[in-house]
Assembly symmetry: C2
Homo-oligomer: 475 residues x 2
């Protein structure tokens, strides 16, 4: 009974949300009273209340005292989206390494408002449940878990991770999975397993600086592929680039790409997989944000369409369970033996206790429930942050439309240097990531990435307001 | 009082051990009765008993029923030591990778007698104390430790590790230390921080296959430097090789090198450091076995003599506390910023809970006590294993004289292929590491590495006996 009721208010709220999106209900317009809504829809008063409360928590409607509910926000009426690959080129004396250092040297400082961290804070994660799982792990593991685990990883963890693949249309077993020290470690192993130093790999543009710098550090050449802010990598361009540049592997984030947040349509994913099969090259798929979708359904992955084993799927629990546990994994397809070899050289084994703990947490079956809440919170925060940025940043500001994840990509006027803005903001104890670091070329210096993972508060709003002021001063 | 008594029996035992070593007391000779020893030395009967018991546990003397104690073993009368770099070349169809795979695919099989594992088993490690430390970590860490720790690593752990450096004449602070996911991770970060793919590095010969394959996987060329079984790397050879081969970094294990077990004399360490300073190249020093010395004193490290920051010291707690925790560290000297950058790309952070736990264990001050016991056990096992190998292997067998650590390097007749021997042994559920994998050239195919970390037992003795039989059959 509770389930049906639960379902009912969401259904009503979703219908209203769609009317807002389609601009049938316009900003400022009054909604029916709770009593009328209840009559119209044939639902109880409390269900009607719940529906409005849900929409209000998302920032879509607001209640005005003694007057009722009004439309407050329409995400489709947001400003323009950023241009995909029309980069502004500008000379700069600061290297990407130095910028990344500058951004992350304030990580340990609790005074700073960290719009720079693309990871949900511990307050949104199941800390107490994980602590319980750690205690269980020590109780159940031989010698309290001080010994090595097997090379491929904890078998109970691998089984749980294989089961997770059902959510995106995979049907893998524990034999297909290799655990790693977080997702970057999975990327390292997959890159070293599929390339030689001197080889060229393809990445999105803009793309996560961590992966790019990692690849460059491994002696790989990196080719940036134009990327559309809604549909992702330009496949036509890629099809020509692969033979021309002798590309050996693609390293893409098809779901909720960091920083743009776009989600490649299934059609494109299928086409991309056929393409890497045609050239017989590797596709390293970073799906770390895949579970954090805002829509109704978990998006598919490229691995979903992988028949020949060319896709090396990579992910971790860092964005949804416990970043400090450093638990990641890969399903490396036909490169499995090579990846295992790389794991032996780079890691020997993963930490026994933390990996077993994640297995035990997943076995409780509480992950789905936790994810449902986390997704709702992140979606709501996305709407709140976007609204504030629309309100406080200059009108010419362009904002991406992430369909999941926890970051917002923002494009400012061409002449604004966001690294200078970052230095200004830091004086006011606000940090974000300047756009320049998301490319190895001299691009995106007028862009910035803002994470919306810090829970919404007056302080968050004030910080965004202040950031808007600083931008206006630079115009 | 107890301390003095404790000291007294060891003093008496040590004196007798020295007489055995100097061949004053010869194998088969009868020792004074306990009563006479007590009178001669002016010690209590119980102290005299303890001294003999200690020597017996080390396998140096034996008691014969109703007769008394007799000299059983003299480590100086062991067979010849293996030749340093007089490698036997032999064509082989199996790659080093395949051999390593073959050796380690039986890791999870409890039936196999694993002379292949160069790590003390959990039974010799402080498992319960570590479990306590994990519980303390969860209690004291914010949000039970599910969040990221800072990039450089847990500050309490770094402080403890810096204090450890006092044992080998270092005087470092927490600011000098960077924590890593075990020692191989430290080696990876140091290699990527000091070299570019295509560069050449120098290593010992024979040397640990893990490090060599790792370096090769990172696109580095590897030059093997002749290594003496007692004094380590041939410095004269190295001095010529560095400019000739444009060597960018040396990756050496100066203390209890794996697999030879040699310990470079201080004079050579100092000379090696001056050499890398002269050419201004990096010396990556793997000191993972440094605490497991058999002698009276912790050996110095190359880092001890490092004035200009050219030495990147690397170690871990995997050989002495908890291999499954994957806690390692580096003191990278002048390369610190670069190593931190590499850590950001490769790891983001280390696992919060396990790293904090090791800090808390070290803070209890019980590490020294634990190490004292572990060293005694390993030294005793070394003597037991050597004795059995002398007894059961053919007379032409050459055995290394490790001065610490937990592996024995053994050289058989030139025509014996130890990979074939390995395959034979595996049928009898015995594993070891064939010598061939300790070089990237075609060397050491008549050598093998036997770890003496499995506690001595009838089963161990029987396995060594069987191994001896298999070798005789191949002669």
């Amino acid at each position: 009974m509770l389930k049906t009721a639960d379902h009912l208010y969401l259904q009503v709220a979703d219908n209203i949300e769609q009317l807002i999106e389609k601009d049938v209900l316009k900003i400022g317009e009054k909604l029916p009273s709770v009593r009328n809504l209840s009559k119209q829809q044939g639902i109880s008063l409390s269900t009607a209340f719940q529906a409005y409360y849900h929409l209000e928590s998302k920032g879509l409607i607001e209640s005005r005292p003694k007057s009722g509910y009004y439309i407050r926000f329409n995400s489709r009426r947001m400003p323009d989206i950023p241009t995909s690959c029309d980069p502004v080129k500008k000379a700069t004396d600061v290297t990407v390494h130095e910028m990344v250092d500058a951004v992350f040297q304030h990580m340990a400082n609790d005074d700073v408002m960290k719009f720079s961290v693309a990871t949900p804070p511990p307050s949104l994660l199941p800390a107490a449940k994980m602590a319980k799982a750690v205690v269980q792990a020590m109780r159940e593991l031989q010698d309290y878990g001080i010994g090595y685990e097997q090379l491929q990883g904890n078998v109970r963890l691998r089984r749980q991770l294989a089961l997770q693949s059902l959510n995106w249309g995979g049907a893998y077993t524990e034999n297909d999975v290799i655990t790693t020290n977080g997702c970057v470690d999975a990327l390292t192993l997959c890159l070293t397993a599929t390339t030689q130093p001197g080889d060229t790999i393809a990445i999105e543009s803009p793309s996560y600086y961590g992966a790019t710098l990692l690849a460059e550090g491994l002696g790989l050449k990196v080719l940036e592929i134009p990327t559309h802010p809604i549909t992702g990598v330009d496949l036509e361009y890629l099809d020509k680039a692969i033979p021309r540049h002798k590309i050996k592997a693609c390293l893409f984030v098809p779901n909720f790409n960091n920083p743009i947040g776009c989600c490649m349509p299934d059609k494109n994913k299928r086409e991309l997989v056929r393409m890497v099969e045609k050239y017989d090259i590797a596709l390293i798929e970073d799906d770390i944000y895949g579970d954090l979708y805002f829509g109704k359904q978990r998006p598919a992955t490229c691995k979903t369409f992988d028949k020949k084993g060319n896709v090396l799927y990579c992910s971790s629990v860092s964005k949804s369970v416990a970043p400090g546990f450093r638990v990641g994994w890969t399903i490396p397809g036909k490169y499995k033996d090579k990846v295992l070899q790389m794991k032996r050289h780079h890691a020997i084994a993963c930490p026994t206790i933390t990996h077993a703990s994640v297995a035990y947490f997943l076995e409780t079956g509480r992950y789905e429930n936790h994810l449902r809440n986390l997704r709702k919170i992140l979606h709501t925060q996305f709407l709140r942050y976007s609204q504030a940025i629309m309100e406080y940043f200059p009108e010419s500001t362009k904002i991406a439309r992430p369909q999941g994840g926890c970051v917002l990509w923002i494009e400012l006027d061409p002449h604004i240097n966001t690294y200078e803005l970052f230095q200004q903001a830091l004086k006011h104890k606000i940090s974000f990531v300047p756009g320049r670091v998301f490319s190895l070329r001299d691009r995106y210096s007028n862009c910035l990435r803002i994470s919306f993972s810090v829970p919404w508060s007056k302080q968050v709003e004030d910080s965004l307001k202040l950031l808007g002021k600083l931008i206006r001063k630079m115009q």
